[in-house]
């Protein structure tokens, strides 16, 4: 009887428990992270009633939460992946909006405006307003780049600040997990089940996983350990604080309290930030800098060899110092080891010096080998050019200036009067030796000449030379010229292309001298017995046009026979380049009208006046025709006559000299004020591929923007995919652990009825008891 009552009681109690559990479920249906709970019922242990095994009712075993821990851990991971792409997409969307493309007022537009202004100026090279407009648009281009780069870099800085904020969140969550660990451990050690606390911990873990990639390790005691890159973030009873920092490359890192090394998690929101700063930002900054450098380099290459409004320079100062404070020790540094934005190449710099009064142009080539040539040697080499000085100013900047009455420039223009020395049918009596130096001389070597005052013998000694076995024509000329007798005999000695040149100091048909012999004559290749006479009708070769060919060349002009320009049949002037390859053969004999232009090659023409030329006297002149007058890039490297200055997107700016005075814009390629050659060269940039970029400037910019767009677009796509995956995991969790109210209501009815049935049963047992009692 008691047993029956007990059975009924247990029935009522278990139904009540069940109803409580489902009430808990229904009320927590919308609680985040909640797992539905269920009451485990079991039949009580049966009693052995003298051979008859009798059931003893129902026992409520305990309340169990329905959860799939593996699924929950996958959710932690997936939440991290989604948060990573969420963070990344957010940053990248801000990034792409910085470009204002397509069609906005972005850098593409700035490039276009720059080239449009240049083109407008090319149509009106002397227009001051257009010149100002070009400078403005150049400034717009440079400041657009400055701004873009600053904004992009700021985005990196913002991200680092964000990482710091995230570390606070991480610390709060890990502390929460740790305290839940303690509670769960205590409860479960006593045999209880900490269902709701476990739910809270799972939720906290998912939230933690969204911030930083974590590894969750459940322990038998019911606690979990949380590891970040193998280091403990949360232990059984305590959490370890993280502190945000940046590494050497500026990427955010976390230092873990008690950790052995800093961590750089790949997943979680922090992982997204880190991916941006580590993998996207530097590449983007490099690309922007590369574009800027290509722009500076190519624009300056075109500009630095141009000539400004006033037709040549009297003084130029480089934009960059060749050494800090112009310290002396840097003077002996090779150019290659200087800290310059752009490297000096192995090549040549052409410097033209024009005489203001006569318009005469002399061309000088400075060979530059950056590994060998020091700053001092460069200064000396430029300073050796007549009427030009070079030096460093107090700030260490390279200065080049010319004497009053002279102007210099670096243009590739053709030297109109290439026969500077006067060795090609000029007024001087002159003879060019046939043998090129270096020569070897011993004491007493001499040459016998007949000068204006009669025979002269000039001798040399081995001691006259630095090395008497390798004497250059130049060296020999200077030694011979120091002879007083030679000077009074009205003879001077020069060198041309490594060969010795003997020349009268006077011009005209009265100027004459002869070579009678001597060992020097034999060594250098002068024919004894020759008498040369000057001319009243100098041939005056004049070059015109602009060299349109490729590469830099020195053309050598020689007549084939002795004869008179415009008169002698079959008289040719052969033109060969520096390798001896024929360039042209000019017919200047009886069919030629002296003074008329003959085309040589590649846009360059020549004209000769009437006069005699002589092959037997070695008549010759050389002309340098260049495509690029600064193959060494020394102007660009030092910022001499630069349009832009700076070496990256931060320092990119219009050269101060041009900002101060837009008339310093080098528009002309020839020095004529209406010429726009340098500007046309600059304009070619908009259509031609730049070697370092492999495309045009705007093309490279398009690729860069397109790259950012792709990053955003692919991060967005990835985010959608990962969110879908998270969604489906969430659904599966809901399927396992979620509360279905309808389901609970069904159960409610069920247990309500069970309760009623148990109560009814007690009633029946009671009636049975009453019945029995009434028998007593």
């Amino acid at each position: 009887m008691t047993l029956g009552l007990n059975i009924g009681l247990k029935g009522i109690q278990s139904s009540q428990r069940a109803l409580e559990t489902l009430g808990h479920n229904i009320t927590n249906a919308n609680t985040p992270g909640y797992s539905r709970q269920t009451l485990d019922l079991r039949a009580s242990r049966p009693l052995d009633q003298i051979g008859v095994i009798v059931g003893t009712g129902v026992d409520a075993e305990g309340v169990r939460r329905i959860a799939d821990d593996v699924l929950n851990r996958r959710l932690v991971g997936q939440a991290g992946v989604v948060a990573r792409y969420e963070g990344l997409t957010e940053i990248l969307s801000t990034l792409e909006s910085l470009f204002s493309e397509p069609g906005g007022s972005g850098i593409g537009e700035a490039y276009n405006t720059f080239f449009e202004s240049a083109s407008a100026l090319a149509s009106n090279p002397r227009d001051g307003v257009l010149r100002g407009a070009l400078v403005d648009s150049a400034e717009n281009l440079s400041s657009s780049f400055n701004q873009l780069f600053a904004s992009v870099s700021e985005l990196g800085d913002d991200s680092i600040a964000q990482a710091e904020a995230l570390s606070t969140g991480i610390n709060e969550l890990s502390a929460e997990v740790a305290s839940l660990n303690v509670e769960i451990g205590q409860i479960e050690a006593g045999g209880g089940v900490a269902n709701d606390l476990r739910d809270q911990r799972d939720l906290a873990l998912i939230q933690l996983g969204a911030l930083i990639e974590v590894d969750v390790q459940p322990k038998p005691s019911g606690v979990v350990h949380v590891l970040v890159e193998g280091q403990l973030l949360v232990g059984s009873s305590q959490s370890y604080e993280v502190a945000a920092d940046v590494d050497d490359s500026g990427a955010p890192i976390l230092n873990l309290e008690g950790g052995t090394r800093s961590v750089q998690p790949a997943g979680g929101e922090l992982g997204g930030i880190q991916h941006f700063i580590d993998d996207i930002l530097p590449g983007l900054q490099d690309d922007i800098n590369g574009l800027v450098r290509a722009t500076i380099l190519e624009v300056n290459r075109a500009h630095s060899v141009g000539i400004a409004q006033d037709g040549g320079y009297t003084s130029l100062v480089s934009a960059l110092p060749l050494g800090s404070d112009g310290a002396d020790f840097l003077l002996n540094e090779p150019l290659a080891s200087l800290d310059l934005d752009f490297p000096v190449q192995d090549g040549q710099l052409r410097i033209n010096v024009a005489n203001d009064a006569t318009g005469d142009l002399t061309v000088h080539l400075v060979d530059i080998d950056p590994d060998q040539m020091t700053v001092q040697e460069l200064i000396d080499e430029i300073g050796e050019i007549p009427n030009v000085q070079a030096g460093l100013d107090s700030a260490g900047r390279l200065t080049v200036s010319s004497n009053s009455g002279y102007r210099f420039d670096f243009s590739a223009r053709v030297d109109p009067n290439p026969d500077d020395l006067g060795t090609f049918g000029s007024g001087y009596a002159s003879v060019v030796a046939t043998g090129a130096g270096p020569y070897s001389f011993v004491d007493g070597d001499g040459i016998d000449l007949v000068g204006a005052l009669g025979p002269i013998t000039v001798t040399v000694n081995a001691a006259d030379f630095a090395d008497n076995t390798t004497v250059t024509a130049e060296e020999l000329a200077s030694v011979l010229n120091s002879n007083v007798e030679l000077a009074s005999g009205q003879i001077q000695v020069e060198s041309l292309g490594g060969k010795l040149v003997l020349q009268s100091t006077a011009t005209g048909s009265d100027a004459t001298f002869g070579i009678t012999g001597g060992s020097i004559a034999g060594i250098v290749g002068l024919t004894p017995g020759a008498t040369v006479t000057g001319s009243d009708t100098p041939v005056n070769p004049v070059l015109t046009g602009t060299f349109t060919g490729e590469g830099n060349h020195t053309w050598t002009f020689r007549p084939t026979i002795d004869g008179t320009i415009g008169a002698t049949p079959d008289l040719l002037v052969e033109v060969v380049d520096e390798l001896g390859q024929p360039v042209a053969s000019l017919s200047v004999g009886d069919g030629y009208t002296p003074g008329s232009e003959i085309s040589i090659a590649d846009g360059v023409s020549v004209r000769f006046d009437f006069g005699q030329v002589s092959a037997s006297d070695g008549d010759v002149f050389q002309a340098s025709v260049v495509e690029d007058s600064d193959t060494a890039d020394i102007l660009v490297a030092t910022g001499l006559n630069a349009f832009f200055q700076g070496g990256d997107a931060e320092t990119f700016a219009v050269a101060q000299s041009i900002l101060d005075d837009p008339s310093q814009l080098a528009i002309s390629a020839t020095g004529a004020t209406g010429d726009n050659g340098a500007l046309l060269k600059l304009l070619e940039l908009q259509d031609s591929d730049v070697a370092s970029l492999g495309s045009t400037l705007t093309g490279a910019y398009g690729t860069l923007v397109s790259g950012v767009g792709s990053e955003v677009s692919s991060a967005g796509t990835r985010l959608a995919t990962e969110e879908g995956l998270l969604q489906s995991l969430e659904e599966r969790r809901q399927a396992v652990s979620g509360v279905n109210v309808d389901e609970e209501l069904v159960d409610m009815i069920r247990f309500e009825q069970a309760f009623g049935a148990a109560a009814r049963y007690i009633n029946v047992v009671q009636q049975l008891g009453d019945t029995l009692l009434s028998l007593l």
């Binding site: 792409e96 397509p102 449009e116 090319a122 002397r126 009243d536 767009g709 399927a735 279905n740």
Partner: protein
């Protein structure tokens, strides 16, 4: 087993559906509102790059178009100025033809000279024509007035201050177009074709080609004469104008004396101490016949002389020289043959070289005025020379006009092509980045409908619960 579904899942699903559809609706709406398919690079990364490149092409074309627009009036103005120049030259030719007429008085010639100078001034105005602040005919030195007149009176000459280069503007990718023809080609390009001598002294052109410009005068004088037969000498202190070798024939029968190809001169009695005989060319010698033997004789007289180019620096003449080089300061170099010299005097030489049209015109005016001093025939001969020069110069000018005309045509063609290309690129750009409004509108409607369905079904679904029936 089918997955359990919970209310949470249903809510989530409904919410997600609404969100997705709303997002699509906003995107479509943005496309309609901006009219653009790509509003940020991530909308179409490749399309963005294409857009940037297309915009650059369009900007290039705009530059080329404005270059062409700038160039056209310059070329056209230059062409019309050259036409004007050619008209001036035609007028000058007519005036010179008039001046060549033999029936004019010196006053008439002076008046024509005045008119020619007027024309020269007009032509100078044309040569110095500007477009805006640029001189049209100064090459690339277009800030400098190309032609200036220097010197005074008969010595006036024009000098060219420009250069021989042509200004180029870029009118298409890698295509430049020259804007101007330098004045040096238009007005200074003509040359003489040969050296000619007035023929007074018997000086002839040498073997070698000459070099220089215009006219020069060479002076010849006689220094001594020798080769007389006995009894005949040159009268002391008398002028000697004969040069070279001439036969001096004394005929005792006719009592005449003859020099070279000249007329016989009767020997008067008593025998004269000063009798002038001359050659047909006018070379004369004055003889002292007082010591004449009375016999007939034929002597070979040889008169040696000197030559000068500036009337001061005399050089003895070698009569066997066929190619004597004379350097004339500031003018040029000529070569003369002295073997046929017959008399002294000043020889006018016109020689090969180039000159400017202004020099020709001013020279022609001077020739006309000089009629009084150098003789009408000499002046006419010179004028004739100038006239043919002017014809050459005019043809040079017309060649220049032709070149400018060709450029104007090229500019027109280029402009048409640029316009065409510009439209093409604009079209491509539009197709690349603009939204197809029909498609977007359709999309919009479709998304709207989907959203409405999602909302309606969600609302119904969420209402379904067992509670409704308890």
């Amino acid at each position: 087993m089918a997955l359990r579904t919970t209310q949470s899942t249903t809510y989530q699903q409904v919410l997600l559906g609404i969100q997705n559809n709303t997002q699509r609706l906003v995107q479509a709406q943005a496309q309609v509102a901006t009219g653009r398919r790509i509003s940020r690079p991530s909308d179409d990364p490749v399309g963005t790059a294409t857009s940037i490149n297309l915009r650059q092409q369009i900007s290039n074309l705009a530059s080329y178009q404005s270059s062409v627009d700038e160039a056209r009036p310059i070329v056209e103005t230059a062409a019309s100025e050259i036409e004007q120049a050619s008209n001036f030259m035609t007028e000058a030719r007519a005036l010179m033809l008039q001046g060549l007429s033999g029936t004019l008085s010196q006053d008439d010639r002076n008046s024509i000279a005045d008119q020619i100078e007027e024309v020269a001034n007009g032509l100078l105005g044309v040569a110095n024509a500007r477009f805006g602040d640029r001189f049209l005919f100064a090459g690339t030195d277009d800030g400098v007035q190309p032609y200036t007149l220097d010197g005074e009176g008969p010595d006036r000459f024009a000098s060219y201050g420009g250069n021989g280069d042509e200004q180029t503007v870029a009118v298409n990718r890698g295509v430049g177009l020259e804007l101007n023809v330098p004045g040096s080609e238009l007005f200074s390009g003509a040359g003489y074709t040969s050296t000619s001598f007035a023929g007074l002294t018997g000086l002839q052109s040498g073997l070698t080609v000459d070099q220089g410009t215009g006219f020069t005068r060479v002076q010849l004088r006689a220094d001594s004469v020798s080769g007389f037969e006995e009894g005949v000498v040159q009268a002391a202190g008398t002028a000697l104008t004969v040069l070279g070798e001439h036969a001096l024939v004394i005929d005792a029968d006719d009592q005449t004396v003859t020099l070279g190809d000249g007329e016989p001169v009767l020997i008067p009695t008593p025998l004269p101490s000063a009798l002038t005989v001359e050659t047909a060319g006018g070379g004369s010698v004055t003889l002292d016949l007082s010591g004449w033997t009375g016999l007939s004789s034929t002597a070979s007289l040889v008169a040696e002389g000197s030559i000068a180019t500036n009337g001061a620096d005399w050089t003895p003449v070698d009569r066997t020289e066929t190619d004597l080089e004379l350097v004339i300061d500031g003018v040029g170099v000529i070569h003369v043959d002295t073997t046929e010299l017959s008399r002294t005097g000043e020889e006018l030489i016109t020689f090969q070289g180039t000159t400017s049209v202004f020099d020709t015109l001013l020279g022609a005016a001077q020739d006309l005025r000089d009629g009084a001093t150098v003789g009408v025939d000499v002046a006419r001969a010179r004028l004739q020379e100038r006239y043919s020069e002017l014809i050459d110069q005019q043809s040079n000018t017309l060649v220049g006009l032709g070149r400018l005309g060709a450029r104007a045509r090229r500019l027109n063609e280029t402009q048409e092509r640029l316009d065409e290309l510009s439209i093409q690129y604009q079209d491509q750009l539009s197709r690349n980045e603009d939204a197809d409004l029909t498609e977007v509108a359709l999309d919009l409607t479709r998304t709207e409908q989907t959203l409405q369905v999602a909302l309606a079904s969600g609302a119904r679904l969420l209402q379904q619960t067992l509670l409704n029936f308890l």
